[in-house]
């Protein structure tokens, strides 16, 4: 390697590192980062922890229904999301779409569903159908169509078109060709992706409670607003257990699906 090349590379590395550092400084200024206050605030935090202890375990009966609500919101939202994401994905995959117009329409809808955060969908649906878990289900399913639609479409675009051609040539109808040649190949991947989505949606459905979409998130918010820190810590434990349990379950099922 010539000295000139080495010099140019070093110059490039130094410039890059300087630019990245500048970017970080910019971010710290914009976010008003003051780590020293975190140190000064240690007392306040310790106080808060002391007041959160011991967790109010006696709430367990009252926590049952909201926990179930959170779980069911995620379950229904995910299943509805999968059911509607499949047709969107078929239209949004280049190799299965019936027409270019539908392709672009499906791609655009999927992008819109995905780009609007589930929290914003929840706010919209709360104002449409009122407080409770149902707007949460709607929000999760719409956002899930956006997330799953794109991934499903990618899986469909990756399939081997040989069997599709072979079955079309038997004179089978379009739908039969899809169910017999495409579905068996993509089903395990779709199931795996859907289970991963369930796992994401359980976390999302907890947060949705904060904007009035029911469940354990709503209990957590109420307890915080009333400064009932022992209740807060109990709900956080339930939250933690729920997330881990669903994560484990979805990982175990994914392993069997593939």
């Amino acid at each position: 390697m010539s000295a000139a090349v080495r010099f140019r590379r070093r110059l490039f590395a130094i410039t890059g590192a300087t630019a990245f550092l500048a970017l970080l400084v910019q971010a710290a200024i914009v976010t008003d980062a003051r780590p020293q206050e975190l140190l000064a605030g240690v007392h306040g935090m310790a106080d808060l922890l002391r007041r959160s202890f011991p967790p109010n375990v006696s709430l367990w009966i009252q926590a049952f229904r909201p926990t179930l609500e959170t779980l069911d919101t995620a379950l229904l939202g995910t299943v509805a999301g999968v059911v509607f994401a499949v047709p969107f994905a078929v239209l949004a995959a280049r190799n299965t779409t019936p027409s270019p117009a539908l392709y672009y329409l499906a791609r655009a809808s999927i992008a819109l569903f995905r780009a609007v955060p589930d929290l914003v969908w929840a706010l919209l649906f709360v104002s449409a159908v009122g407080l409770g878990a149902f707007p949460g289900v709607l929000a999760l399913s719409v956002h899930s169509i956006g997330m799953l639609g794109r991934l499903f479409a990618e899986v469909i675009e990756d399939i081997d078109m040989g069997p599709v051609e072979a079955l079309s040539l038997t004179g089978a109808g379009r739908i039969a060709v899809f169910t017999h040649a495409v579905v068996p190949g993509v089903a395990p991947s779709l199931l795996g992706i859907a289970l991963y989505r369930l796992d994401e949606n359980i976390r999302a459905s907890i947060v949705l409670g904060f904007v009035g979409a029911g469940g354990i998130g709503f209990q957590l918010l109420s307890a915080m607003n009333l400064f009932l820190y022992r209740d807060v810590s109990f709900y956080l434990i339930v939250n933690f257990a729920l997330v881990i349990a669903v994560e484990r379950l979805s990982a175990a099922l994914r392993k069997r699906a593939l």
Partner: protein, 253 residues
């Protein structure tokens, strides 16, 4: 009986944006019970001809009559109906790898069996039983329960033949079905195709790459050269010189 099952007349085909036609005025008729082999160098139009016949491609002019009905102007549902009479076995077996061998064979019946529940992904019990018989025909009936993805190349190609049978076609087209197979497996596949012509009265057209196999199995040999029929004669009348002439243009070009 003397009416040909496959009757191609003056078929021409030009690729979009290409200047030279890939098929020029091809005429070919095949009767029930005949096993016809097509030979030709790479680019002579063998595969294009078969893909035109099943209307994966649209010819520029000419006519294709299968079992008495014209294929050229069909589209949509009419084309789907017409395709049931002609099966194409391609160079790759194109099986659904995650499904069982038996289900792959029975899926050949989907053109005939158009109940709503076959569209939902199910297969009729009676077709699964028939599929078992077709697997016997190709000598693989003990592999029915296995996943198609686990088969060897020769086995997969024979399953593709069985799937074509499940379609119950009058005309069977095969595009280099033995190109990827060892000699023994190739012989198995060609023997089955010949029996289908001779015993079951199908019209069988098979594109082959090795002239020896064509001599050994076919009743008639059609030589294609630069998109034209160079010769169309009984196997016994084909000389080595005629075959050599077919492949000479390839090295010259």
């Amino acid at each position: 009986m003397d009416e040909p099952l496959l009757d191609v007349r003056d078929l021409s085909m030009v690729w979009p944006k290409a200047e030279q036609p890939v098929l020029r005025d091809i005429s070919l008729s095949v009767r029930a019970g005949e096993f016809v082999a097509i030979l030709g160098a790479n680019g002579s139009g063998k595969t294009t001809l078969l893909r035109c016949i099943v209307r994966l491609l649209t010819p520029a002019s000419g006519s294709i009559v299968i079992a008495g009905s014209e294929m050229v102007h069909l589209a949509g549902a009419g084309l789907q109906r017409a395709r049931r009479r002609v099966a194409l076995i391609s160079q790759n077996a194109n099986l659904v790898k995650r499904r069982s061998v038996l289900a792959n064979v029975a899926a050949g019946s989907l053109g005939r069996r158009r109940e709503w529940w076959t569209s939902a992904g199910a297969l009729p019990q009676s077709e699964l039983e028939l599929a078992h018989r077709y697997l016997q025909t190709v000598g693989l009936d003990d592999l029915g329960a296995q996943r198609a993805g686990t088969l060897s190349g020769g086995q997969a190609q024979r399953v593709a033949v069985a799937r074509a049978l499940a379609q119950q076609p009058r005309v069977l087209l095969a595009d280099e079905p033995v190109a990827n197979l060892d000699p023994e497996a190739a012989g198995d596949v060609l023997r089955v195709l010949r029996e289908l012509a001779h015993d079951d009265e199908l019209a069988v057209v098979c594109v082959l790459h090795q002239p020896d196999l064509a001599f050994g199995y076919a009743d008639r040999i059609v030589g294609l050269q630069d998109g034209r029929v160079a010769f169309d004669v009984p196997s016994s009348a084909v000389s080595q010189a005629m075959v050599d002439a077919l492949y000479r243009s390839e090295s010259a070009a």
